[in-house]
């Protein structure tokens, strides 16, 4: 999340008023069907959209609105709802504003069209998402190559049904000197050792 942490504090970039974001959203909503607007900060907001709107919106934002930079593409596993949420975070370098487009895709046979033709860097993110979440992006360059998990033979590790604790316990030894106490047992020992 380091990209988010920079928070538009680049020297010389003005922070926009929240009002600007809302006006921008209203203007955009006249051209595209948009879902909910979530304002995270004065210069960062998220807009929920439907999958078919993604490509036209990305093109519009990049070419007409100055959002020339794809900051990141990431996913969230909403396992209870059976969805993956994809977030395309774009940045307008000129006015220091970031907009995230959020959309849901089905968790079963998760599949999404690639946008590497709009931003070539997207291929890297898509390759990562395929590896970590098991979301397929057909035609994305190198999408089936190992990214950082070499020789992985488990379910994709960012899926919520992956047991992270079990994996870390099995694969990583504890540093010597680790010990822990159960709160209830410790209290018994301290307060009523005889059981009464």
């Amino acid at each position: 999340m380091s990209a988010l942490s920079i928070e538009g504090r680049h020297i010389g970039l003005p922070l926009r008023e929240t009002k600007w974001m809302r006006e921008f959203y209203t203007k955009l909503a006249k051209q595209f069907p948009l879902g909910e607007l979530t304002e995270q900060r004065d210069n960062l907001a998220f807009i929920s959209i439907e999958q078919p709107q993604l490509r036209p919106l990305l093109m519009h934002l990049r070419d007409k609105e100055g959002f020339s930079h794809l900051v990141l593409l990431t996913a969230v596993d909403w396992i209870e709802e059976g969805h993956f949420q994809l977030t395309y975070l774009l940045s307008n370098r000129t006015n220091g504003t970031d907009i995230g487009l959020r959309l849901m895709i089905s968790r079963d046979d998760a599949l999404m069209e690639s946008i590497h033709d709009i931003w070539p860097t997207a291929a890297t993110y898509q390759r990562e998402l395929r590896e970590m979440f098991g979301i397929d992006f057909p035609d994305s360059p190198g999408v089936y190559e190992d990214f950082i998990l070499e020789g992985w033979n488990n379910i994709p590790p960012y899926r919520r049904d992956f047991d992270t604790l079990e994996f870390s316990t099995e694969n990583f030894a504890q540093r010597p000197g680790r010990e822990t106490k159960d709160p209830a047992q410790h209290m018994k020992q301290q307060l009523y050792p005889d059981g009464a």
């Binding site: 106490k181 209830a184 301290q190």
Partner: protein, 604 residues
């Protein structure tokens, strides 16, 4: 190579005179953002050591350990989380789940050490340079992993319930109970606070998985009065619950009742199991209340012969003769009693020790004797003219109501006292007035202000809903009698203070602020005491006493080696405390009679 490739290095020249995007000194000029998930902070005062952070950590990075200067006490394990930064991934689940909001993150992300073990540290205890960082990640207000509000317990509305003694509370449905059980993080901090140390997280887990027979077994391991406690427990556990810090405590009492509601009584015996083989030892218990019957339950299961002597016609003590039916229906109490009796406990009802059978007789006939006689006598205010026949003690009237003994129902009653017994008698009389006179006229007066009444907040709220009038800060000064000798009112003065500087009871009044509360009956509900005349003079002389109560050691044993005492008469009024006492003395009696000590005592 194209022309473009050849020229492009030169295009960079155009940026020469522009402001650089690069941060010149990134280590210092680039602080983490306001919500950055940097190094951990823990407010040691706020933290209760519940270990929920450890439980949720997906990297096994957190240990719970005692720290110097933080004591283990009720509601606080005294443990604090130590984090191993060799494993932490800064996902912040620990912060999101923290039950008190003590654990947060700073926006600091740079930390250099040569000693790798330094990266295993206890935030808030081991001082760090980011401890006072203002920015950093905290759980946003609306972002909660566990529901803050408890599932509402449905109950009868005031207009309906005032017409009868029917139970007010409906109990949870299976769906409601599961939702409520899901709020429990199973930290187990509550167990130490429960006087009988019930396996609370385990039986809540049984509710979650719908395994009610396992739940019942767990309840009976520590509490044979689970029917009673599922309804009227003082639930001290809930005041220690981790969930109370950022929301409502888990409805532990109602979940206990839910287990009880789900298991048919016919199954109890099978679940609880058979007593051990007979030992040939005999124990007499005086008083069939929760303390006496809990001890009877334990001792009979250990194989001892147990005989209970009860002065009244039925068992249960104050839970039957004090607590009204609308809070604790008799059939619920009867189930607890029946189960204990079914294990082979003999109960002699209507048998008063002292007059019917002497203590000396019990001492002679049994290996050990337990005195669990409760607090049956109501205290009197002894204000002027309070000896009038229409001035009652609340416990006496509650007893009459249970025993269905006739008394002249007041048209207009004034209760003195702000505790649960005051509420019990006020609400019982209100119901009877509604049935007989079709109107409620009960006033509760107490010396405290309403915020400081001893009664449960629920009791006060429900009493008010039922049309009972509460007048607080009223100190009783005397009863008003008319010329023909009828009681016509209670005189009170406004209370200015109750305790003196040494916290002793020494009320001061404003005597110019006098109120006459018109009534035909006054009921004193200012506390109870124990009638120990059954002991007889000789034994009373022999026993050690402590401020009017029989002196006992930590096992409930008196200064006489054959005699134990338990429950309200030695510990003060509280059902679950009496249950805990019962277990304690049973264990002590068992070790005494199982050793040769008792036979040696008998011979001497």
């Amino acid at each position: 190579m194209s022309i473009r490739d050849l020229l492009s290095p030169f295009t960079a020249w155009k940026y020469l005179l522009k402001n650089p995007v690069t941060i010149p000194d990134p280590l210092n000029d680039r602080p983490g953002s306001a919500r950055y998930r940097g190094f951990h902070k823990n407010d040691n005062e706020k933290c209760i050591g519940c270990g929920t952070c450890e439980a949720i950590c997906q990297n096994g990075a957190i240990d719970m350990l005692p720290v110097k200067g933080t004591a283990t006490q009720e509601g606080d394990s005294g443990l604090r989380p130590r984090i191993d930064y060799g494993r932490c991934c800064w996902c912040a689940l620990c912060v999101d789940v923290c039950m008190t909001g003590s654990l947060t993150m700073s926006n600091e992300y740079k930390w250099v050490e040569s000693d790798p073990d330094a990266f295993r540290f206890t935030p808030g205890v081991d001082e760090k340079f980011w401890d006072n960082a203002e920015l950093g990640y905290q759980r946003p207000e609306d972002h909660r992993l566990v529901e803050a509000k408890r599932v509402t317990m449905e109950e009868m509305d005031a207009d309906t319930r005032i017409n009868s003694f029917a139970e007010i509370v409906n109990g949870y449905s299976i769906e409601q109970a599961k939702l409520e059980a899901d709020r429990c993080v199973a930290c187990g901090i509550c167990i130490a606070t429960c006087p009988t140390h019930m396996a609370i997280p385990d039986y809540i887990d049984a509710v979650r998985e719908g395994n009610y027979e396992r739940g019942l077994k767990l309840l009976y391991e520590t509490n044979p009065f689970s029917n009673v406690c599922g309804r009227v427990c003082t639930r001290k556990c809930e005041s220690a619950c981790a969930s109370r810090h950022e929301g409502e405590p888990i409805a532990i009492r109602w979940l206990k009742r839910h287990i009880i509601d789900q298991v048919p009584f016919e199954k109890y015996r099978e679940i609880i199991g058979e007593p051990d083989a007979p030992t040939g030892k005999k124990v007499a218990i005086i008083g069939a209340g929760p303390a006496g019957m809990t001890a009877a339950f334990d001792l009979v299961r250990m194989g001892h012969e147990v005989v209970v002597y009860e002065a009244k016609a039925a068992a249960g003590g104050m839970t039957r003769y004090g607590i009204p039916e609308y809070r604790l229906p008799y059939d619920a109490l009867d189930r607890d009693i029946e189960l204990i009796v079914s294990l082979g406990v003999k109960v002699h009802y209507n048998t008063r020790i002292g007059s019917d059978i002497a203590m000396a007789q019990l001492e002679q006939d049994f290996d050990a004797v337990l005195l669990a006689i409760g607090l049956q006598e109501g205290r009197q205010t002894r204000i002027p003219k309070s000896e009038h026949e229409k001035v009652y003690r609340a416990v006496d009237l509650l007893d009459k109501i249970t025993s269905e003994e006739a008394f002249e129902l007041p048209h207009c009653a004034v209760v003195i006292g702000g505790g649960n017994v005051a509420m019990d008698i006020a609400r019982s009389l209100a119901r009877m007035q509604k049935q007989q006179y079709d109107q409620v006229d009960v006033v509760v007066t107490a010396m405290e202000d309403q915020q400081h009444f001893m009664a449960d907040a629920d009791e006060i709220k429900e009493a008010l809903e039922e049309g009972i009038i509460i007048r607080d800060n009223c100190g009783p000064q005397g009863c008003e009698i008319d010329e023909s000798g009828h009681l016509i009112g209670l005189k009170t003065w406004k209370v200015l203070s109750i305790l003196d500087e040494n916290n002793r009871f020494a009320p001061t009044y404003d005597d110019s602020d006098e109120t006459i509360h018109a009534c035909d009956t006054v009921i004193e509900a200012i506390g109870q005491f124990s009638d120990t005349s059954l002991l007889g003079e000789e034994l009373t002389e022999k026993l050690e006493w402590n401020r009017g109560r029989i002196d006992i050691d930590s096992n409930g044993r008196t200064s006489e080696s054959w005699l134990w005492s338990a429950g309200d008469c030695v510990s003060g009024p509280d059902v679950v405390h009496a249950v805990a006492d019962g277990h304690r003395v049973a264990s002590s009696i068992n070790s005494y009679i199982s050793s040769n000590e008792s036979s040696i005592d008998k011979q001497s």
